[in-house]
Symmetry: C2
Subunit: 213 residues, 2 copies
């Protein structure tokens, strides 16, 4: 999926260009950071997203500056990254992190078709919590109007992964310095019911399952 723009140049062995890897990382993160140019200045805006086939959906208020700009079909780029561990080498120079990241290039277009828009919102909701869409109260016409959904066809993308132990210079292995990984937990925790929950409503199985994973 890569061309000159997305090619990983630093530590090329960490670059991946196959759809399976790229889609996997996109599906495994919740927030992307969108880069776009507005009045000649680059912006970086964190936002929720979801992938559907070779498209990425962003959504927000209809009047959102970012979404209005993206709808013009301007060049845009987005990136996601998760950190799985701090990598503490014997030398400061070889300190690193284990991470999975993706950079995507494409152009956005607002979804006007009502059925397509509902589909996109369903994909965004189901990505966060599979099973939620059918359970929750679905959008009414006023909410649909207040929401803009941008679809971005992935034109070009690359992944970059570091997933290994410490790598030190040969002569440093003899130093009296502790080296190793400090893993980072990214797990979901036990759900907390809303204070105003109607009596008799249990935590649904699809939410319990989410946390047990």
């Amino acid at each position: 999926m890569a061309n000159e723009k997305s090619k990983v140049k630093r530590v090329p062995k960490r670059g991946r260009y196959d759809k399976e890897t790229i889609h996997g990382i996109l599906d495994n993160n919740r927030i992307c950071h969108v880069a776009f140019i507005h009045q000649g200045v680059p912006f970086s805006i964190p936002t929720i997203y979801a992938r559907d086939e070779n498209k990425i959906y962003l959504h927000g208020a209809s009047v959102s500056r970012m979404l209005v700009e993206l709808d013009k079909g301007i060049d845009m780029c987005l990136s996601v990254a998760s950190v799985e561990a701090l990598v503490l080498a014997r030398s400061a120079f070889h300190h690193s992190m284990n991470y999975h990241s993706v950079v995507v290039f494409g152009k956005g277009k607002a979804i006007d078709d009502a059925a397509e828009k509902i589909h996109a919102l369903k994909v965004i909701t189901e990505k966060l919590v599979p099973g939620r869409w059918e359970d929750a109260r679905q959008p009414n016409p006023i909410e649909m109007k207040a929401t803009k959904v941008i679809a971005i066809e992935i034109e070009d993308a690359s992944a970059k992964i570091r997933n290994e132990g410490v790598g030190d210079e040969k002569e440093d292995y003899d130093l009296d310095v502790w080296a190793g990984l400090v893993p980072i937990n990214n797990d979901l925790q036990a759900p907390i019911s809303d204070d105003k929950l109607k009596e008799g409503i249990e935590i649904p199985d699809y939410i319990k399952k989410l946390v047990e994973k």
Copy 2:
């Protein structure tokens, strides 16, 4: 710290502009996403960073395209975001996340002065693991030459925070839908010593302390 560029327009009550809040969020994340323009196209690149007073340091290989471009003093923007919980409302529309995010605007400049550069690398290392810099083997002249550090003076910044429970439409509270938060863990876990660790080296207290926090 905000002007027209960084002002939070959607849900303005979530915007914060005081240094304490902005610096706190910057200090509490490990990866930022850097937006910059190269050959007319916006790029979004995830990278490690650290804050020092009103500056942000980025570092990497001296030949890194991003760092070489930023050193030209071009406009840039970076954002960070952490997600603390999924917010599951009764309506799909009011689904959200609890998050802390910051958007920073500024311009970069490579640090040439050797003492300043060492200071910046120390700040980056100490941010990840306080106490690590003095323990690890510090950079030698070859490593210093291979490393570029960019300092970005924060010209303009804003934070956006959602840190509350579910908010539903009045008429939805009576629906038979579970609502609540699913918190996300971001904790560091027990360190894993390198396979090639020299015999007799214990996990240092400053690393144990990191995990106990």
